[in-house]
């Protein structure tokens, strides 16, 4: 088990390094001089030179990377050009909102996906199966921002149940906190469940055709128990892996939902930083987003090995 974990960790090292290189290179995609792009064409040459020095752009590219990477390793992501505060601190302050939104979306998507996936997997080609196929197609095709606006219109303007925007921290009560995150999580969950439903359907169909399911039936176990106790357990395993793969899409959705619902998370931080041309903040947030994906996938792989004894830890 530990050998497997260590091997998996070693495999992640080049990916993490390359993610850092990619994030570092982002600022060099700016046509011309980034300092000019930040300060505007009318900026004085001395101001541009000063910002160049501050961003380290006056050095050679490898040296720039070495300095930047050295900082990142020590938890120094640079300082915001707009607020002057450390980038990592700004990200850290907004991290809990994004985390809660992400986890709520995941839970909600599973709560919706499991019943639909089970209904479809139990009776392929039935009405339930067809409905789940349509639902998942709608889910993957629906722009998340359109869904969010429709939800706001329905549940915040027409039936006033949920707040249209803003975030209530957990310290001000769980109920108000969940209420403020309900609509954005729901919008994300709809997109997320689409893939889970299809996967769960095919996995459950396969599990129900296995010999252990037949044995259980032959023993006289009720079909309900065969489905929910025996087959679903095995069908859920690949779903765990898929959640790791979908995590990137989920974090991408966060950028949109946080912007629409005015939630002070990492997603809205990126968008604001882009419009402020606050490049160190953009770089820092993009790097943290990618690291979350790497860590989640690492965690999923380890968890998978842990819950599925058939996997060899070689």
């Amino acid at each position: 088990m530990w050998r497997y974990v260590v091997r998996r960790l070693i495999l992640a090292v080049p990916v993490v390094l390359l993610v850092c290189v990619g994030t570092f290179l982002l600022i060099h995609l700016v046509p011309g001089n980034p300092a000019t792009a930040i300060l505007g064409e009318q900026a004085s040459p001395s101001a541009i030179a000063a910002l160049d020095a501050k961003l380290g752009l006056d050095r050679s590219l490898p040296l720039q990377f070495a300095v930047w990477f050295g900082g990142v390793v020590h938890g120094n992501f640079g300082t915001s050009l707009v607020y002057g505060s450390p980038v990592l601190q700004m990200i850290w302050q907004r991290f809990p909102v994004t985390l809660e939104l992400t986890l709520l979306s995941l839970v909600m998507s599973l709560l919706m996906a499991v019943p639909f996936g089970v209904a479809a997997g139990r009776r392929p080609n039935s009405t339930a199966d067809y409905a789940s196929r349509v639902l998942s197609l709608v889910g993957v095709s629906m722009p998340i921002f359109w869904m969010a606006l429709i939800l706001i219109y329905l549940f915040a303007f027409e039936v006033r149940i949920f707040p249209t925007e803003g975030f209530v921290p957990l310290s001000q009560g769980l109920g108000a906190n969940l209420l403020s995150l309900f609509l954005p999580s729901f919008a994300q969950a709809l997109a997320l469940m689409a893939i889970t439903v299809r996967l769960l359907r095919s996995e459950l169909m396969e599990a129900l055709a296995q010999e252990y399911a037949r044995t259980a039936r032959a023993k006289g176990v009720a079909e309900r128990t065969v489905v929910w106790r025996h087959a679903l357990r095995n069908a859920l395993l690949p779903v765990v892996t898929a959640i790791g793969l979908q995590f990137g899409a989920l974090l991408g959705g966060v950028v949109i939902t946080e912007t629409i619902f005015a939630l002070p998370g990492m997603g809205s931080l990126v968008v604001t930083a882009i419009f402020d041309r606050d490049f160190p903040v953009v770089q820092g947030a993009v790097l943290v987003f990618a690291m979350i994906v790497v860590v989640v996938n690492l965690g999923v792989d380890v968890l998978y090995a842990y819950i599925d004894p058939r996997i060899k830890y070689g």
Partner: protein, 293 residues
């Protein structure tokens, strides 16, 4: 699987009858037909926009600002009194251009890289695949947003950004298919006959990886259109006065309570188009490549 492809590609008449059989299967797949009809319909509407409606997408009429849907303006008008139906028709041009161009660009970069990684192997494969893994670690929308923001506004830059985040998918699928066919007899035969690497790749391996690529392309056009709309919704990418679904939807969201049609119709257009490409991609997969899931 690979053997089946090999058999099918064996002789000319076989290919013809196989493709006719496939076509029949595609038509029987009703959802795929629905997808094709949607895609063709949207493409026609976008191309024929000036014929379908003589109004210009930029024509303003302040007396008619925020008019609800009516016979004259079926989708209503926006804050400047511009006809939303006309804007949606013209917006299709932006979306389809972005979707098709970015996928084409991603294929032009990703497919050769996948061919090389799969065929050459060794450290070349390691380098290409690790870079691909690293790119996949970035949430696609976040990366596209950051690249688009750095490159600056404009449809061209948005297309480059979307293409870049789509490349890894094409590298991966191409590589895995190349590995599946590269040890087969017909490839060995081509090599033994003195075929140079480039020729073996283009004439013998590429045709055998085309099917999954086609499926991936159709599905990714949907993804690209969704991403382009997301970028313009967030304010990166296409800038006014170019009609764009994502941008118009965002502009309309300020009037959501009193004039929901401003956002409703551009959003419906995005949804319908992406749905069309997804249905088409699913259908293509069912008959071109049943093993791919």
């Amino acid at each position: 699987m690979a053997v089946a492809l090999d058999d099918r590609g064996g002789t000319e008449p076989l290919v013809a009858s196989a493709s006719r059989r496939s076509l029949r299967r595609l038509v029987r797949n009703r959802l795929a037909v629905v997808g094709a009809v949607i895609v063709v319909g949207i493409a026609f509407a976008a191309v024929a926009a000036p014929i379908l409606d003589h109004a210009s997408p930029a024509a303003t009429n302040f007396n008619l600002a925020l008019a609800p849907p009516s016979l004259l303006h079926p989708f209503g008008t926006d804050t400047l009194g511009r006809d939303i139906l006309v804007r949606v028709l013209y917006g299709g041009r932006t979306s389809l251009t972005a979707g098709l161009a970015s996928v084409l660009l991603a294929m032009l970069v990703g497919v050769p890289l996948g061919l090389i990684a799969g065929y050459v192997g060794g450290w070349v494969n390691e380098v290409i695949m690790r870079v691909t893994d690293a790119m996949l670690a970035f949430p696609a929308l976040v990366l596209a947003l950051a690249i688009g923001a750095m490159l600056g506004p404009g449809l061209g830059n948005a297309i480059i950004a979307i293409a870049l985040v789509t490349v890894p998918a094409f590298v991966r699928i191409t590589r895995s298919r190349v590995i599946a066919v590269r040890e087969l007899d017909f490839v060995d035969a081509a090599r033994a006959a003195g075929g140079r690497t480039g020729r073996v790749l283009m004439a013998h391996i590429l045709p055998n990886v085309l099917n999954p690529l086609l499926v991936l392309a159709a599905l990714n056009v949907g993804f690209a259109i969704l991403t382009e709309a997301s970028l313009s919704f967030l304010g990166v990418g296409v800038q006014p006065p170019t009609p764009d679904w994502g941008f118009d939807l965002k502009a309309g969201s300020d009037y959501l309570q009193n004039a929901p049609w401003l956002s409703l119709f551009p959003g419906a257009a995005i949804f319908l188009t992406v749905l069309g490409f997804n249905l088409l991609g699913d259908g293509l997969r069912d008959f071109l490549d049943p093993t791919m899931r």
